[in-house]
Amino acid sequence: MPSVNVVNGKQIVVENLGPVERTIRFICRPFAQMWHHRDLIQAILRREVAERFKGSIAGWVWAIVAPLLAIAVYTIAFSGRLDLPPQYIVTGNQNLSYALFILSGIVVFNFWSEMAFRAPMLLHEYVHFIKQTIFPSDMLAVISTLRATLYTVISLGVLIVFQLITTGGLPWTMLLLPLIMIPFIAFLVGMSWFLCAIGAFTRDAGYLMINIVPLFMFATPVFYHQSIFGSPGDILIYINALTGYVDVMRDIMLVGKLPNWQVYAWTLFTSVFTFYFGYWFFDRYRNVIVDVL
């Protein structure tokens, strides 16, 4: 079985598969690749995590200080200035409820914005690996998302402790967090595949993201609840896929109820669609990318 088999610029894979089998193969392939390259993912993830706090003395303390600072700032800045539906007033103190409301949205938004900022430059960061060695460049999106996941989990941990202290308990629905985090991670990996492929061709993708990420902070219900728009704005805002994730997150973290099944179905759809569209797009252009980087 040849390891390289190319005819007229096309990779030849000798297989006789029907459309159903080909689809199943395509659906399994990203996961098979991740499993196959698990040791490489681990090695590079270690380097990435070490890099984040390179040369700092406090190191991991910063990962905890950042969300604590955010709690302080949002509690003070938004005290009495938000109009929330009553179910989000989860503590006796309104100001703390606002802080919890905003933070649960911001955790989701920060996770997304870190990936949106970084993904267009991702392949440029690893250009030596891609051009000089035989390197599975599709794993870079997975690795960088895993790194961001780590910091998000730390922020979530701080937030949960804060909530436990201020409200004196946690809703049982918090156990469902993985059911929203895993689709969200898949959504971000897919988005990173798409953005890093575009970013390889033109640096404009990076500049574009720097400009539109701050706009999304206001196009996503982070600092407000979508109900302020009234009909039909409160439905239309779900076109921004992040809205669904923020909404489900708040339902299970703060309110303690199961999310609206339509909203959850929508997040699952955006997740699966983005994941496979991103992978398809990256896979289609991966051989061109090597030559244009």
């Binding site: 007229n8 040791d39 380097r47 051009k131 060695t133 390197f135």
Partner: protein
Amino acid sequence: MSSSTSSDLVVEAKHLGKAYQLYARRNDWLKQVAFGWATSKPFSKPFPVLRDINLAIQRGESIGFLGRNGCGKSTLLQVICGMTLPSHGELRVTGRIAPVLALGSTFDLELSGRENVMIGGAVLGLKRGEVQRKFSSIAEFAGIGDYMDQPVKHYSMGMRTRLAFSICAHVEAEILVVDEALAVGDAAFQRKCMDWIEGFREHGTLLFVSHAKADVMRLCRRAIWIDDGRIREDGKPVEVVRSYARAMETEPDDMKRFTAV
């Protein structure tokens, strides 16, 4: 497809060619993507780097590649390694291939040698446990002592090459591609690498690029001279090296060869 003679072929290339698209202005590729379908005149000029390469390499051969700068040697090896796709022709490669092309350039300067060994080994396809098991052997071969735990930014070029070659020597590849990587090592280390390569030839296939004609004659049983993207001569190292050396003296350094047609 698998007749008895072709089963020992590790690399088989037929009419292999590669052309890069050169754009006059930086953003012309965007015009090509947007309007290329509508116009018959492309916005780019093809720049052929490899043309009509026919090559058959048997298991256990050791081949030296000669040629001027920019003649296409490195591109040919990159194509064989599968890093970049050829634009036409056929290519079949069988076996685990390890490029010692420029592993040193992938080192993270802030990380220690030890951490870079873990990453480099993983990039070349070793499992984490395997790298850990072989680590002392890698460190011994590189021979850089306590520098192993220092950041790579404090290394000299020679030390980086030592570490990079040492990692590649431990991946148990079936096809080894060495691309001018050893030039910066000192004589003693070069000798160690040459000895190792000689041992490797007993069970593996070696593709070797060097401007040191003596090394090519010593290590290789076959030499291929690539000129302007074509195979100009393919045969015994002594003869190919001789005609290559003669051509270097008589043919002037023609800078027009970097111009797109």
